[in-house]
Structure formats: C-alpha cells, structure tokens
Symmetry: C2
Subunit: 588 residues, 2 copies
C-alpha cells in the first residue's frame, strides 16, 4: 500500500471489486445482520443506553470503518467490555435513562474517537502494548464476571445495581425476595437453549448433513431464535401482565444527528475514561483483526487501525451511538460467512438501518430477560481462570499482575482495575531489571566460549575476573552493579583486572555511565584495572561520544577471548578449573 490508499484502504480493495466478491459479501452481511440485531440491543442495555442506540451504533461506525480500516472482515459496533466501561464511566456523571446520559455517552465516544485519531496521526499504536497480555486477559475475565452478574437482575426482573462485584452481589441478594417467576422462567429457558445450541446444535446439524461452516453459523445466530421465541411467548401469553419487562417501544427511523457536547469541564471529567476505553477497545479490536488476517495471510496496519477505529467512534458519537470497537463474535461470523472485503460491513450497516426503520415494532414484546440471558452466555466465554493457572506456572510476576487486575477490577471497578494492572506490570519489570542476573564466566576448555562458572567446568584466571551482566545498564540497576563489583573485589584478594562482558548490554544510560565512572575510579583506587569486552556497536558509539574509553583505566576489547588472553598472557596455563559453587567470588 502506498500513497492515498495507505490512508483510505478502500482504494486498494475497491479497484478490484467484482461480482463473486459482491455475492460473498452480501451473504455474509445478511447473516451478520441477523446476528447483530439482538446483540446490539443487548449491549445497549448493558451500556445503560436505550435499545435503538445499539442499532445506531452498528450503522455509521460500520460504514466508516469500511472506508478507513485495514481489516477485511472486522465488524465494528457495541462490544461487551467497552459497553461495561461506558456504563461505568457515564454512570458516575449521569443518571441511566436520562437524556443527559445519552449525551455523555456520545461525548465519551467522541473523545475516544479523537484520541484514537490523534494516536493514529502520530503513529502511537505501540502505546497499546503497555496493556500486557496478563493484564488484558485478567481484565476481560473480571469484566466478564461483572457483566454476567450485572445481567442477573434482568433474569430476576429486579432493579439491582452496582459498579463493582461485591456491590452487585449485595444488591442482588437484597432484591432476591422480589424475583419475578415468569421473568426468571424466560431467562432460564433462554440460557438453557443458548447453552444447548452451543454444545449440541452443531453436531446435530452436521449429523443431518450440514456443512461444518453452515452448522457453525447456524449455532452462532441461534440467539435470534431465542429472541423470536420469547417475544412471541410474551405476546401470546400476555406475560407483561405477569410482570415480565419488555424492551417496549423503540422509535423507528434513521440514526439522528447528535452534535457532541462542548462542555469542556465534562471533556476533562471524561478524559481518563475515554483514554482507557480507547486503549482497551484498540487492543481488543487489533487482536481480533490480526487473528483473522493471519488466517488468510493478510496484513493489518495497527497505526491505520487507530484511524479506522477513531473515525468509527466519532461516527458513533455523531449518530446517536456510544463507544464502539471491533467485536470478536461478530467478526468471526463475518469471516466464517465468507466476507471478502469491508463492503460486507457496509452491507451489514444497510441491513441494520433497514431493521431500525422497519423491525422496531416487532421488538416491542422482546423481554429484557432474553437480552440479559444472551449477554450472560456470551460473556461467560470471556471468563478464563485457566489463564491464571497457566500464567502462574510460567511466571510469578506475570501471575501477580493478572491476579491484581482481576481483584482490583472486581472490587474497585474497571478503571482502577486496568490502571492497577498496568502500574504493577511496569513496577514488576523495573524491579526485575533492577536486580539483573550476573555471572562470573570462565573459558570452556578448547573453545573460545565463555560460560557461567556455576553452571559449567570452565577455566578462570587467578587475577582476572570476567563478569557477564545479563541486562541493559540503566538507572534502576546502576547502583546494583556498583555494589556487585565492590563485593567481588572485596572477596577476591588477588584480583588485578576486571572485565565486564557486555553481550547482553543493549543500552547504557546516563545513570549507569555515572556508575561505570565511579566503578572505574573506585577500582583504580583499589589497584584494579577495569576492562570491557564485546560491547555492541550502538552502545560503543555513545561511549566514544562522551570520551569514556579515554577515562577508562583499562581497555575495551572486541571479544572476551581476546581480553582474557591479552590480560593474562600465561592463560590458559595459569587457568584453573573453577570448582563450581565453592570459590568465594561465585555470585548468583
């Protein structure tokens, strides 16, 4: 991609668009539209928005993403985690159901869109990397639990509320006496039906001769049958009189134009939430897009994805919507249904627009319990406690970041949770690199290779100590190295030379340089000469700039072998096989 088509990917695929692609895209669009109608209503409910907002948020964003996005199959719209974050952010400022609530939610989408566009403009897609895998995984698990719990009230037909897991549980317990039996029945049947279609529908259809892909798609659009069935039941048995709450009247029509609020105090209040939604939404969206692109050996351009997603959010905010991102389930259905280009997304948008114009009267009797059940079944697949176990086995540090993210999200809400996770990840990294692994190395006999004296039988010189530092030297570990060297010198009476072997030193910052100068001075005072070996090109360039080689009491050698044989010409004649783990200068 080059030139304008880099910024408008539609120019690249649009030029070669043909009838077979059109057919595939149209089929995919019909399937995705059927799936999206109940999903959009459900996530609007989760976000605290009126149901039609969910439809609106699935129209303009899809069209805009088709113009600017680099994924061929990503479907943009309301998504579980981002809807939860929206509810949490907007709920602190406005009352659910009020007009102000919709205004704040639209502004949140607008700000998030602007931030994504700005990040795209300065190519800051890499910022998303600071959400480490354990943090995002823990966050999604905790969000799934909170979302599922928050939907139980629709199954109960009660008014339980709360932002955090304990609040939700307490509120549900408080309202447990007011459970509506008919509502609970609808919810339970829907959940049972959805779980059954997940596990059994596909094998049965396969058994009846369906193709794997068709069976897959049928299983994924099963919620539509639950919607139709329960809506009919409410209408036929007049269950509203039994206290079953329904979606009710949805105004039909095209999405309204909604200008963003220019209340800048509100902008400031929403800034942090918008930033977090941007980053979480972007990470989720890009992961989905990359997974699907890899299957067809296509490429995603993350910085351009920021533009696509940013424009989609701005579009959502201007058309009565709320924050959107690329969703996993809908994108997979789109992919499986054979979508070939973003045109499928545009056709889906038209499908939803038609639904918003024509189908809303049919949704009057749709019970909220059905939507709640749909959400619960969808988000429970996000909850992955197995990841905790796997991460624990691999790394205690990563595990604690993940566990902290889950606990903080559950107990203090989504924003605190994600900030705590990111903060802890960074602290753990700094802590780890502040105590780098170091090894005194010796020569592997008959080679030019140097290895840790503690792990291998190697030759060492009695008066030359070779220390390999397994980390870049920078401020958190600068003083650590001073202490390490001082300890080695104090414990090695015969030492005349110390060689720092720098194979793994990728950077030396100003603090570490200061430490190296101190070490050089202190060793000089103690009659020990300091040398370096195997310094990397970019690191060496800097040391030369500052005149460090002239200051150094010793020399900088190209290879460790050259260093040792130069400083101890009798080596390996004087070299002795070090006794692993016993000599005083062994360090961990």
């Amino acid at each position: 991609m080059s030139g304008l088509s880099r910024f408008l990917p539609i120019l690249a695929w649009g030029a070669s668009y043909d009838r077979p692609a059109l057919t595939s895209d149209l089929v995919a669009a019909i399937i995705v539209t059927i799936m999206l109608i109940p999903q959009s209503l459900a996530y609007a409910l989760l976000a605290g928005m009126p149901p039609q907002a969910g439809l609106y948020a699935s129209i303009a964003p899809l069209l805009v993403y088709a113009l600017f996005g680099t994924s061929r199959v990503l479907a943009v719209g309301p998504v579980a985690v981002v809807s939860l974050m929206t509810a949490s952010a907007v709920g602190q400022i406005a009352e659910t159901g009020t007009e102000n609530y919709a205004v704040v939610a639209a502004l949140l989408a607008f700000l998030s869109g602007l931030m994504l566009l700005a990040m795209g403009a300065v190519r800051l897609g890499a910022l998303a990397n600071f959400l480490s895998h354990p943090v995002i995984s823990g966050f999604i698990t905790a969000s799934g639990l909170i979302i599922a719990t928050s939907q139980v009230r629709h199954l109960f037909g009660v008014d339980a509320h709360g932002d955090t897991f304990p609040q939700l549980l307490a509120s549900l317990a408080e309202h447990a006496g007011a459970i509506n039996p008919a509502t609970l029945m609808i919810g339970a049947v829907t959940i049972g039906f959805l779980l059954w279609t997940r596990s059994h529908l596909k094998p049965i259809l396969r058994h009846h001769g369906w193709k794997a892909r068709s069976a897959d798609i049928a299983a994924k659009i099963a919620p539509v049958f639950a919607v139709a069935g329960t809506t009919l039941a409410v209408w036929a048995f007049n269950l509203i009189d039994q206290g079953v709450r329904v979606v009710g009247e949805i105004p039909s029509g095209i999405p309204p134009f909604t200008a963003p609020s220019m209340d800048f105090a509100l902008w400031r209040e929403l800034a942090l939430s918008a930033a977090l939604i941007s980053v979480v939404g972007f990470v989720e969206s890009v992961s989905v897009a990359q997974t699907l692109a890899a299957k067809r050996r296509q490429r995603i351009v993350p910085d351009q994805e920021l533009i696509g997603l940013g424009a989609s959010n701005v579009a959502a905010s201007l058309s009565g919507g709320f924050p959107v991102t690329g969703g996993f389930a809908r994108s997979v259905v789109n992919f499986d249904a054979g979508a070939e280009t973003p045109a499928a997304g545009a056709f889906t948008a038209i499908g939803i627009l038609l639904a918003a114009l024509l189908l809303t009267p049919l949704l009057y009797y749709l019970p909220k319990a059905t939507l709640g059940a749909t959400i619960i079944v969808a988000v429970l697949s996000l909850v992955d406690f197995g990841a905790l176990k796997r991460t624990f086995a691999y790394s205690r540090g990563d595990f604690s970041a993940m566990a902290a993210t889950i606990l903080f999200t559950l107990f203090f809400g989504v924003e605190v949770g994600i900030l705590a996770g990111v903060g802890l990840s960074i602290c753990l990294h700094l802590w780890r690199t502040s105590r780098p692994h170091c090894a005194i190395v010796g020569l592997v006999p008959k080679t030019q290779h140097f290895r840790n004296v503690k792990r291998h039988d190697v030759l060492t010189s009695p008066y030359v100590v070779s220390l390999r530092i397994d980390e870049s030297l920078y401020f958190p570990n600068a003083r650590f190295l001073e202490d390490k060297v001082a300890a080695i010198v104090a414990d090695t009476p015969d030492i005349r030379h110390m060689i720092l072997m720098c194979t793994a030193v990728n950077h030396i910052d100003a603090s570490a340089l200061e430490s190296l100068e101190t070490i050089n001075r202190n060793l000089s005072d103690a009659g020990v000469t300091l040398h370096f070996s195997e310094v990397k090109g970019p690191v060496m360039d800097r040391l030369i700039t500052i005149g460090f080689p002239e200051e150094l009491s010793g020399r900088i050698f190209l290879s460790q072998f050259e260093a040792l044989t130069t400083l101890d010409p009798d080596f390996p004649a004087t070299g002795t096989i070090a006794e692993p783990l016993s000599a005083p200068h062994r360090i961990s």
Copy 2:
C-alpha cells in the same frame, strides 16, 4: 559484619576504639561543631523553623546515626534540599512561625523516619535507584536555584514569598522598592567575603605555609567569621534601628521532647511528601557516604543506612527538629578533619548541645542577611548547568528527563518536579525497549561469529533468516516483534527457516511468550519453520516449564553456528556475501 553488629555497627568499631582514634574524633568534632552552628541556624530558617530547631536537629540525629549508621564519617542534620522540601510540604498545611508549623514539620520527620525504617526492614534500599542520575542532578540544580532565590529576601530585608521560581521572582520584584540598604550591605559583604574565601583563602594560607588539609578546613569554616563579624557589626553600630532583621532571642536549653501528632488525617496528607523526602534524603546521604567510604576503601551497607537515617529522623522528630539527612559539606569537613569513627558525630552532637545551652545569647544580633548569604553561597555550588550539556551529548532521552525535572521543579514545585522526572525516566525507558534494536545477522567468513549484515560483510543463506533481537522480550515490545517478523517474511519470498538469536534476551514474559506462540503459528501457516539459538539458561528453564519447545515448529539450538549449518547443510556453499543496505530484508 554479622549477627547483632550488622544492625548495630557501633559494636563493630566500638570494640577496637582507642586513644588515637579518640583524639582524631575529638579534633574533627570541634571543627565540625564550629561549622555546624551557623549552618544549622540557616537551614532552620530555610525550612521555615525557629533557629533553635536547627540546633536541635543536629543533636539527637547525630547521636542516633552514630549507633546505627554504617558510614564512619557521615554527618547527619538539616540539609539544604531536604529543608526546602520540608518548607514546601509544611507550608501547604501550616503558617510559618506558628506552633502548628513546628508540629507538622516534626510529624513529617517522624513519618519519613518510619518509612525509611520500613524500607530498611524489608531491604528496599534499591527503591532509591528509581531516582535516576539525570533526575536527581536536575532536581538538585533546580532546588539550588529556588533556594538561592528564596534567600534573596533576607538580603533585601523584605517579606517576599513563593513556592515556585516565578512566584519568588514576582514577589521579589514587587518588594524591590522596600529594600533595606543596611541589610543589603551586610548581605553583599558576606557573599563577597564567602566567595573570596572559597577562591582565595586556601591559596593564601598555603602560601603562608599551612598544610593543604588545614587550609581546606579553614576555608570551609569561614562562614563562622562572617557570622561573628556581622553579629558584632549589628551590635556595635546598633543596626537593628536601621531595619536590619536579626535572629533575636533563641531559647537556650536542651532539646525538648516533642511527641508526634496522632492526627491521622494529617498523616495521610503528609504521606507523599514524607515518601519523597525519604527517597531524596536517602539518595543524597548514601551518595555522600559512598563517595567518602570509597576513599578509605570502607563499605557502606545501603539497607542498613535506611535504618540509620530512619532512626535519625525519628530522633529529630522527637526532639524538636525537622527532617534531616546526611549532608555533603559537613561530612566532607568531618572526613578532612580526620574523623575516624561515628564517635566524632557523637562528640559533635555534644558540641552543638553545649552551643544550644550556652551560646544562644551571643546569636541575638546575628543578622538574617548573613544566614541568607551563607545559604546562597552554599547552594549555588549545587547548580550545575554543565551537567545538562554533558547529558545532552550522551543521550537525548536522559537529557529530556533532566530538563523536565528542572523545569517542573522550578515552575510547579519540588514534589511535582521529582515525580515528573521519575515518571518521564520510566516512560522513556519503556518507550526505548518497546522498539528494540534488531539485526539480521550473517556469518563472518572463516569464523563461527555472526554479525549484523548492515555493518559487516557476512555470509547469509538464501532460505534461512537469522534475526538477533537486542532486548529482553516483554510486553512493551511483544507485538513489535510480531510485526517485525511478519514484515521480514512478507519481504523474503524464499524463506524456509527463521532463527531467533537470543544472546541479548534476558527475559521472556507471558505477553512475549504469547507473541512467540502467535509468531510460531503464523510462520507455520506460511510454511516457515521457527527456530531459536543461544537461549540463556534461566530463560530456557522457563520455556521448558511451559512446554514451549514441544509447541515450536522448529528446534532450539545451543549455538547460532550449529543452527545455521544444521538447517542449511550446504552452507556456507550456498551462502552469499550479503550486500550491505540493499537487500530487501535488511532492517535497522
């Protein structure tokens, strides 16, 4: 050191204490006492405390440090930068000169002491490393400027105030009309005298046959003569009537016992300030102690220094003082004057106690302008703009952290300044490691060494790409590697194998592991086999725990040479000398 003497270093040196050491320590104590009296008064003034608090803060802390500290010569007491931080923190809560001000300052010392003790108990001395050298250097320069500017009011004899540099300048400008001529004269003469003694006194004394060390000490206690001279002048010429402000009545007596405030709301309010003062004070103190210890080949134990400094601050808080730390000037004088053990510090404490009991009436006529001038001359030596230039030459990143610390400290105060500097240092580090240096490497002919194809004439295989990653793999750069590998594969049509050479990979976290699994899968889908070479022991141990080698499409080789010759048996027969900088798979 072992056993109890690790926690009470006095047991180690006290056992062999003898008459020569006693004589040296007594001489040093007398000299340091003479120097400390005006300095303590001056820093009390800077901290916004009554003058006697400066004396009190130089008694108990010195005694306590002598028990717990590991430095033989460190002198603990009020210090310029920490006094400024005290004034800034306490000034936000209490009015200078009120009783409450002293209570808050004492609590600040108490909290800072507790934090230092806690950090010492869990051996968290390494936390101090997070103040990188550029940040601490920038912070001290900016503090020096603020302190000097804040003292100009004493030279002018006006009431200018302010926490930040612009506020101070504006306030001075506003009061410029009210300058008191006699006060300005005293200040100017004192500054002139002090600057003259700094540059000329030592050579003159040397010329008259003084020993270098004695001349040094004489030059450093010169402020005492300024104090005596200006005090006499005020008394003799009755300058108080000319509007010269003096220290006035100082209550004489032993330090009072002051119980720390148990107002926990106040504790919370002071917590951040106390933490910052702890870390800054600790870094300053340990740097001084280490510099002086290195000169005599003694050792400092940073974690025990936390205990020593923490206990000193608690002692200061309980005896009418305010936050203290190890000071540079006084410690150097102590060292130069021949102090051999911490007993010198204890004797100094007794000297100051005698001064507090007996000398305070003599200080009645001491002009504040003299103290202000003493501070200005002392702190201007802290201002080091040369460091900005040197750091700029070495590293733009470190330079920007330093410049940001200076600017934020000057314009937004000491706490914002130091937090901004630390935050920026961490962000810069994360940003740098998020885009690691990578190199495609080839074989240096006739060796087993591999080097960057862009820097060297090396042999490469047409269908094996060897990529060396010069950074640990962790969350900020996990996705970067995915993109890099995808780009190389897309640009190298003949590729059949990719080898990741891991000499500089010191750690692989869970996010990077996830990325490696994705890369492995994506390469498999593209018909490319992924291999690793030269994986370090600790990294390999983890990969084995999680079963990564079995998942991997290729193998993990001990050496890069073994990997390449195994995967391309015709190599180097098929190897071609890569043309530097032209082939499409060259990366930066």
